[in-house]
Every structure is written in C-alpha cells, then in structure tokens.
C-alpha cells in the first residue's frame, strides 16, 4: 500500500463532503447574493460578537488555568486525584447536560441565588447573555487547558528542581525561569484549540446567549437554516467563519515553540517552593474557585436527577426510542471517526518515520483538526440539499447526523491516537521492516497489542462526544427522530426543569457507561506492565 493512500482516501472523503455541501448550498440559494450579505450590518455585528466572546472565553480559560495547573503541580491534597478526573470529564460530558448543571447553579432559582436569598439579598440575573456564555466556556475549557499545562509542568525533569533548590530560587523566579518556558511549548496550541472551540461553540451560545444580541456565526447559520431557510445567508456566514477562524488559529499556531526532550534520571526531587504561607493561601483560593466553577454544576446534575418526576419520565416510550437512536448514532459515528483518524495517522506516520518529513506530517494532522471550523449545519444542510433529489428525505436524517458527528469527532481521534501511534512506530518500525512484518500481520501481531488501549480510548471519546452532541440533530430532529440531548434541550426550552433533570442524569449515566464499556471492553484490562 503506498504511503499516501490511507490519508488520501480519508481526506478525499472529507473534502468531498465539505466542498460538496458548500457547493450544493451555494447553487441551491436563489440568486446567491454574497455581496449583499457581506454588506449587511447584521453579519458584521454577529462577527464582532463571535470574535469578542471567543477571545474573552480563551483569555479567561487560559488565565484561570495557569494558576490552577501551578497549584495542582506543587500541592498534594486529598481529593486532588478526584478533581483531575472531574477535569477530564469536562471533555466528554454532554454540553447540554453541563449547561443544565450551570443553570441549576447560576440560574435565577439556582443554588447561588438561593444562597443570596438565604442571606436576605436580592437575586441576581447574571446568567443569560455574554456572562452566561463565558461561564459556560470557562466550565468546559479551563479544566481542559489546566490538564494540558499540568502535563507540561510535570514533564519538567525532576533534576531541574534539585538545581533550583541548590540556588534558592524564589517562587517568582521559578515561574519565570522554569515553569513559563515549559508552559510556552503547549500554550499556543491549547489556546488555539480553545479559541476554535469557543468560536464555533453552538449549544452554549444557543442556550445561555439569551437572545439575538448574543449570537455567534455558528448559531446564526443554524437560525438562517432552521427558521428562515435562507441558504444564501447560511453559506455567507459559513464562509466568513471558515476564513476568519481558520486564519486566526493558523496565526496562533505560529507562536508555538517546539519542545525539547530532556534527559532525566527518573528520580523524584521535592519542589523547593512547596512552603510559604502566601503561596499556600493563593493556591488554596485557586483550587476552591476551580471546584466551585467545575464541580458544582456536575453535583447539581447528579442531585437534581433524583426527583419526583423520574418514574413518569422514565416510563415514556419516546425517551427509550431516543436512547436507542442516540446509541446507534454514537457507535456508528465513533467507528467512522476512528477509521478516518487512523487512516490519516497511518500516512502522517510514514511521513514522519520513513520519509523524514515531520513538517508535512504535522500539517496533515492539522488539516484533520481544521474540520472544526466548518459549521456542521452547513455540512448537514448542504448534503441534505444534494441528496434529497436521489434519496428519501426522511431516511436521510440518521446517516447525515452520523456522518457529521464523525467528522466533528475526527480531531479528537487524531489527538488521542496520534501520540501512541508515533511512539509505536518509533520503537518497532525498523524492526518490522527488517523482519518483513507488513500489512495484516503487522496489524495483528504488533500494532493491535500495543495500540488497543489508545484505540479503545479514542473510540470511547469519539462515541461519547457523539452521544452527547447537540448539533445537527437540532436541525433534523422530529417527532420520530430524536436523541437524548435534543429531548433535554426541548425540556429546558419549555422550562420543564424536573423532566430536564431526569433526562440530564440519564444521559450522563449513559455516557459514563458507554465510555467505560468501550474503554474496558475493547481496551482490555490493564496488563501488568511489561516494560
């Protein structure tokens, strides 16, 4: 098999879907007035708000994540492991479930306002609008960035701390000389990803934005398609998002600093700055704040789920039909995303290890991530317009949701599988070449035993993301075709909060079970470390 074939097929499919969808929409729009739409003040208001909220969200997430990661790196306290696990959860917890939790904590009748009322103070209406969007984005992205930064800090060779203790460096010097350079290697990439996620964020803005003033490009595309069926405007908005967000992310990635792999004896040395009363106070405050921001909404979901309406809601046939449809979508999209991601990584691995072109390999992996800047609604609608002439309209919903969800999960597969696949090749590629172990035999004997855990993790993440996704289903959902996230959104929209709480709890539970079953079942139990 030539080295370019796997990624060639995968990218051809992705390009065909994206290009075909845009083209179909553009052609279908009666007199596509790109110029008129671009001259529209509404569009530029939306662009301004999108950039504003994404910039603020990224700044807040990163600024909070730095002290949180630092505190986690230099303190050991009870519950630290649990907190890190909950941080990891924020990546896969369904957006709409977390939003329910945020409303339960920050809403007008939420926990914080209940607290204020107990103290005899007035209730505050701060949730809906820009504030709500920022809280939502900080909830999802601060833990994500903090974990990346913590990894970078923990990768600092322990010997560095030994040298630092010897010279008696102060906390401030440690940050400037050791921690900041370590963080700089990962910060641009992390910030770029967060910016992209916030720029194209849909569910948070739709539910917490609270009105037409707080509309982003992604939501505007959805509204143009769902309520106005204005294809021309949808295409214009999508193109603006594609160009603008793509350009900003590429610019951010240019700031990236290549990391240097350091030699280490692998011993542990105490960090010299663990003491100090003021440092302790700052770290404690930071951790408490992180717990309030991230953990409280999760607790709210768990607590609210047990309410009097549970038996009634759980007895509905529509709910269980949605469970079934959600699972079919999640598993199919997960497998498709895994196949596409693995194909791209096979080629990028050849580029890296056999052809000595790591730059080209990196660009290929980046190309797979850029799918995130394409609004999924544009893909889905474009394909719908394209295919409705040849297929039954009602049969199209499910496959389209699966395809679009798979594309949206692709960057995560590349991220989770990329590192292990490159490492595997670094260890075994020459050995396999020299022994003539190729193709199916290599997959069966060498790759699968070494990669089944990361493969299972990547599939688990992709499937769980898809299970909890409130995206194109909002466009195609109907009486007969619904997923749990859609039912939850509809219940929240109708202010049936008791019902919403039950669905949120059920959806969380389902995500957790699906994740653990795939990760444990496919990945196998953790073996004894075989070195």
């Amino acid at each position: 098999m030539p080295w370019w074939l796997p990624a060639g097929i995968a990218l051809a499919l992705v390009t065909a879907v994206v290009g075909g969808a845009l083209l179909a929409l553009g052609l279908a729009a009666p007199g596509l007035a790109l110029g008129d739409n671009l001259a529209d003040a509404y569009l530029w208001r939306v662009v301004w708000f999108t950039v504003l909220q994404a910039t603020l969200s990224t700044l807040i997430s990163v600024t909070l994540a730095i002290p949180v990661a630092r505190a986690l790196a230099r303190r050991r306290f009870p519950g630290r492991g649990l907190l890190l696990r909950l941080f990891a959860l924020s990546l896969v917890i369904p957006t709409i479930v977390a939003i329910f939790g945020i409303v339960a904590v920050h809403g007008r009748t939420g926990w914080l306002n209940d607290g204020l009322a107990l103290l005899g103070l007035d209730r505050l209406h701060y949730l809906y609008g820009l504030t709500g969007i920022l809280i939502g984005h900080a909830f999802f992205n601060m833990p994500f960035v903090a974990r990346i930064l913590l990894q970078a800090l923990e990768a600092v060779p322990p010997e560095t701390w030994r040298v630092a203790s010897q010279f008696g460096l102060k906390s401030r010097d440690l940050f400037r000389l050791i921690e900041w350079p370590a963080l700089r290697t990962v910060l641009p990439g992390a910030a770029g990803l967060v910016f992209m996620l916030c720029f194209t964020s849909f569910a948070v803005v739709l539910t917490l934005g609270g009105g037409p003033k707080a509309t982003t490009l992604e939501v505007a595309v959805y509204q143009a398609l769902r309520f106005d069926f204005d294809l021309g405007r949808a295409v214009t908005l999508a193109l603006v998002q594609l160009l603008l967000c793509g350009a900003i992310v590429l610019a951010l990635l240019r700031l990236a600093v290549p990391s240097t792999t350091a030699l280490t004896e692998g011993r542990f040395y105490e960090r010299p700055d663990s003491g100090g009363r003021r440092g302790l106070a700052v770290d404690a405050a930071v951790i408490v704040f992180a717990v309030l921001l991230v953990v409280l909404p999760l607790v709210a979901v768990a607590v609210a789920g047990f309410n009097a309406q549970a038996p009634g809601v759980l007895a509905r046939a529509a709910l269980w039909r949605a469970v079934g449809q959600s699972l079919v979508i999640a598993l199919s999209a997960g497998v498709l995303a895994l196949a596409l991601g693995a194909a791209i990584l096979l080629t990028s691995r050849s580029l890296r290890h056999r052809l000595g072109r790591p730059g080209a390999a990196g660009r290929l992996e980046l190309a797979a991530s850029l799918i995130l800047v394409v609004p999924p609604f544009v893909l889905a609608t474009g394909l719908f317009v394209l295919l409705r002439q040849v297929a039954d309209v009602f049969a199209l919903g499910m496959p389209l949701v699966i395809l679009v969800n798979a594309l949206m999960a692709l960057p995560f597969v590349v991220r989770f599988l990329g590192g292990p696949m490159m490492e595997e090749a670094q260890r075994h590629d020459r050995l396999c070449q020299s022994l003539g172990i190729t193709g199916w035999q290599r997959l069966r004997l060498i790759e699968w035993p070494g990669l089944r855990r990361p493969v299972a993790l990547a599939l688990a993440v992709a499937a769980t993301l898809s299970l909890g996704d409130l995206g194109v289903i909002a466009l195609f959902g109907s009486q007969d075709f619904a997923t749990l996230p859609l039912l939850l959104y509809q219940a929240m929209g109708g202010f049936r909060m008791g019902e919403a709480a039950v669905i949120a709890a059920l959806l969380s539970l389902l995500c957790l079970v699906l994740f653990l079953v795939i990760e444990g079942g496919l990945g196998g139990l953790r073996r004894r470390t075989d070195g």
């Binding site: 020459r430 070449q433 020299s434 022994l435 003539g436 004997l445």
Partner: protein
C-alpha cells in the same frame, strides 16, 4: 560469484540536515568490520543505508555481488541488531525469535525446534516463555541474536547493541558474536565508538569521520598507526 566481496558500498551519498555524506567500502566474505568513529560521524547512517532503512541520494550497495540499492530491508540478505527495541515487549522470547522465521508467527514443529535450538545456542535454554521485561539487558540482546541466526542471512549488522551493557557482559557478548561468526561463516559489520570492541572481534576497521571513510584496514595496524590526525584525536592521548 565467489570472487565478489560480500559487501561493497560505492559512492553512496546521503544528506542529513547540513551534513553531506559519501561512503566507499568493501568487505570480503566471512570477515568482521568495525565502523569506528565519534558520535555524529555518520556510522549509524551508513549502517541504515546498508540495511535499507534510509534511501541514498546516489551510489550503490552491493551484497554478494547483487545490487540491492532499491530493495526493501526485508528482502536484503542482511539482519540487524539495534542498540535497543530489538524485541516486541508483548511477545515472549520464543515468539520474538519465531518472527525471524515467519512474519505471521505461524510456525510448524520443525521451525519451533529451530527456535529452541538457537535459543539454547545463545545460552537461553529454559527461558523460552519469558517476556523481555523478565529478562536482563544481556539476555534480551541474546534473544535478538538468536533471531538473527534463525533468519540465516549472510550479513549481520550490529548497531552498538552491547554498548549499554556492563564491561564484562559486553565482552562476553562480543565473544559470542565471534564464535557464531566462525561457526556459521557470517560476515559482520559492527558500529562502535570503542576501539576495544574493534580489537576484540573485528579483523578490519574503517574510521568514519564527518560523513566519510577516512581510513580503513586491518584493525591492529590502523589503531597502531594513529593516522590521520582525526583518528588520533578520536583515540585520545597515548597511555603512559
């Protein structure tokens, strides 16, 4: 082609970052050649070019008289021993050796007997079912050596496979290679940065410096002559 040298490297060129390399070498059948030189000189690159892991910009590699320049690593009549990662961690010693006979690991009774015999030959009888993590560093390299033997390739390439071992163990392994070479009539090319290794097992030595073969000849003469200057600098001041 009994007269053809076992290995001939002709104007073989390669480029790594800013370094231009051009190599010329010949080695007769049944001999052992040490590639000696400082780190970064291109010793391992030359070995990779001979094994087929890297593609040269120009020139030829002939093995047993056949031009193998365009061949894949598995098709070349060579077998390689690396410094590390010679074994698959999830397979036991027997399976790791068996891969040398069949890359799909479907072995018949005769092949399994061969595997057991070669493991015994390198001193690992009874350890067939151990995984690499349950073996010492020296034992792991013995497994890899057993696999090289079952492949029955005439040219054995060693890329500093013993340099991480303790001095006594290293000499033991070198002696084992020398015995096996004599028994099986192997031709051996060994990369090393230690003149003692060359003296121990290699009749021939080529001194590699800055992407070129600066000097080549019988090991004793070459090391005694201490010429050119780069070789003198590499060897360091004479003792006493």
């Amino acid at each position: 082609m009994a007269d053809a040298p076992m290995l001939a490297v002709e104007r073989l060129s390669f480029r790594y970052e800013d370094m231009q390399m051009v190599f010329d070498l010949t080695l007769a059948r049944g001999h052992c050649l040490a590639l000696l030189g400082p780190s970064g000189a291109g010793k391992s690159t030359l070995l990779s070019l001979i094994a087929g892991f890297e593609r040269p910009l120009g020139g030829r590699v002939l093995i047993g008289g056949a031009d193998v320049t365009g061949w894949t690593p598995a098709d070349r009549p060579v077998t390689s021993l690396f410094q590390e990662h010679n074994l698959f961690a999830h397979l036991n010693a027997e399976e790791n050796v068996g891969l040398g006979l069949d890359p799909g690991l479907r072995l018949d009774a005769r092949q399994r007997r061969v595997v057991a015999e070669e493991l015994a030959r390198v001193g690992l009888a009874g350890l067939e079912k151990r995984r690499p993590a349950q073996l010492s560093g020296g034992q792991r390299q013995r497994v890899a050596l057993a696999r090289s033997l079952v492949r029955e390739k005439p040219l054995l390439l060693l890329d500093e496979p013993f340099s991480a071992l303790d001095p006594g163990l290293r000499l033991e392994m070198l002696d084992l290679v020398r015995q096996l070479q004599a028994e099986r009539g192997l031709t051996v090319v060994m990369v090393s940065h230690n003149p003692q290794d060359a003296l121990r097992i290699a009749g021939q030595t080529a001194f590699i410096h800055d992407g070129r073969v600066l000097a080549a000849g019988p090991t004793r003469q070459l090391l005694a002559a201490r010429e050119p200057a780069a070789l003198r600098a590499f060897l360091g001041p004479e003792p006493g």
